[in-house]
């Protein structure tokens, strides 16, 4: 069992429960490592990793880069804004050019759904999907589950509600797969226009009343409204969205139990969540960020192990 069943991390849906367990166990060790005075291990000294971000990213890119450096890998970075993409070069050509510089692992974010899967079939490197369009963002879902496991002891049997823009969210989809695989119950909550029509076929329940959703759950994972992916108006105004789906301190205090608040970032303070909620002791938002490095170290380490000498 001590090996991943997959050759790439393209999405949660390709994993088995035993893979998630292995990633978490490995992340436990790396979490201890990144809290040492010297936070680095030499395991990946002879591995080179390319971070290809065809879509903007701050924290995911930083988190991956830090994880790679903590494992002593050599890192090269590529951002769409500085690239020759606009010259008309194809994705395979771009990546093959980079791979000819002897790169072993590619971490890729791309605006198109399935870009990672496509690449894994055409190039000779390990692919880690760091977000492909509105499809999957597996490392985010892993770190979210890992943070729940850390806070509540287990994910199994917990009730998790994902609130906000489900339609455009790869975090939501990966989270649904990951949480269900670990035996959690998942509900989504948001404006009907931002909830995909067929979401129920994934075994997820839908709630449009935020208060009811919060009363039901143990954990609320709050998502940002992804205005940049919206080509039409899905709700009348930000003010109206906040009135119906924004979480504030008063709401949390009126609940019978203390629920855990999560957010994958970036937060729009005052829109989906107020500052006093984001900074409250119920919030594990910063733990998520710390755990992100440990989870990404685990994923990279376990995939690198498959690259035999």
């Amino acid at each position: 069992m001590d090996q991943l069943s997959v050759a790439h991390l393209l999405g949660i849906k390709y994993l088995k429960p035993s893979d998630i367990e292995l990633i978490f166990k490995t992340a436990d060790h790396f979490k201890e490592v990144i809290n040492r005075p010297i936070k680095k291990v030499p395991s990946l000294r002879d591995i080179t990793i390319a971070n290809l971000f065809f879509e903007n990213s701050t924290r995911t890119k930083l988190s991956f880069e830090l994880a790679e450096k903590r494992l002593s890998a050599d890192v090269i970075n590529f951002s769409a804004s500085q690239s020759s993409l606009k010259t008309g070069e194809t994705l395979i050509d771009t990546v093959n050019n980079i791979l000819s510089m002897k790169v072993d692992i590619v971490v890729m974010r791309h605006a198109h759904v399935g870009a990672g899967v496509f690449l894994s079939k055409h190039v000779n490197a390990k692919i880690i999907n760091a977000g492909d369009g509105t499809h999957e963002h597996p490392t985010q879902a892993l770190l979210d589950s890992y943070s729940i496991r850390e806070k509540l002891g287990t994910v199994k049997g917990k009730k998790i509600v994902i609130i906000g823009d489900i339609l455009h969210s790869r975090v939501a989809l990966s989270n649904i797969f990951a949480l269900q695989m670990q035996g959690a119950e998942v509900k989504v909550c948001g404006p009907t226009t931002l909830i995909p029509k067929y979401i129920r076929s994934l075994g997820v329940s839908v709630e449009t009343n935020l208060k009811k959703a919060l009363e039901w759950c143990d954990v609320a994972n709050v998502l940002r409204v992804q205005n940049e992916r919206m080509d039409i108006n899905y709700f009348p105004s930000t003010r109206e969205y906040t009135q119906l789906f924004g979480i504030n301190k008063e709401m949390l205090e009126n609940l019978e139990k203390k629920i855990v608040i999560m957010h994958p970032g970036p937060i729009n303070r005052g829109v989906e969540i107020t500052s006093d909620v984001a900074d409250s002791e119920q919030s594990i938002i910063l733990n998520q960020v710390e755990n992100g490095v440990a989870i990404r170290m685990a994923v990279i380490y376990l995939l690198a192990e498959q690259i035999k000498k």
Binding site: D2, H29, P37, K39, P42, K309
Partner: protein, 179 residues
């Protein structure tokens, strides 16, 4: 597969007492000394020595840490079986401390090499010593020798030295196995 007993529990008991006395000779009250057991197997020996030093020799407040060296090994990606990590539990800094690395069997010396690198992550020690229960003296790949040894064994490469502890196998014993 034949199995020959090298040390029985009585032998091990005597050796542990001798090792404890040798440590006291060099480290007095252990105020500047920390013990580091290499995970997973060296931690049994380290725990046993700590019990002995505290209960039979009255040493107080011994500092014991357990170090996992998986991420520092030099055979990552070179083995057919994946490496499995265990936990590291070192809740103190080793800056300017005398460190005693403890393992059950010293064979190629590669684990100790990895431990020497790993331990630097917790500070710069004053010095590092090595204590092993069994020293397989003709099989070293690296220039590493123990400061304290329980028993020297001349085993050939086809033989395996197996240490069992009563915590896991009900009996303290050291065996020589033909592979």
């Amino acid at each position: 597969m034949s199995k020959k007993i090298l040390l029985n529990s009585k032998d091990i008991e005597i050796i542990l007492h001798r090792l404890a006395c040798q440590l006291i000779e060099n480290h007095n009250d252990f105020s500047d000394t920390v013990l580091i057991g290499l995970q997973p197997r060296g931690s049994f020996l380290a725990n046993r020595l700590v019990q002995l030093l505290e209960n039979d020799y009255g040493i107080k407040e011994l500092k014991l840490g357990l170090l996992d060296i998986t991420f520092y090994r030099d055979d990552f990606r070179r083995r057919s079986e994946p490496l499995v990590a265990t936990s590291t539990e070192i809740n103190f800094l080793i800056e300017d401390k005398k460190v005693i690395i403890i393992d059950d069997v010293l064979y190629s010396g590669r684990s100790v090499r990895a431990a020497l690198t790993a331990i630097q992550s917790f500070g710069r020690p004053l010095n590092i010593e090595l204590l092993v229960l069994i020293d397989r003296r003709f099989s070293r790949h690296l220039p590493i020798q123990p400061n304290y040894r329980g028993r020297q064994v001349d085993a050939i490469n086809e033989e395996k030295v197996l240490v069992t502890w009563r915590e896991t196998h009900e009996i303290d014993a050291v065996y020589l196995e033909q592979k």
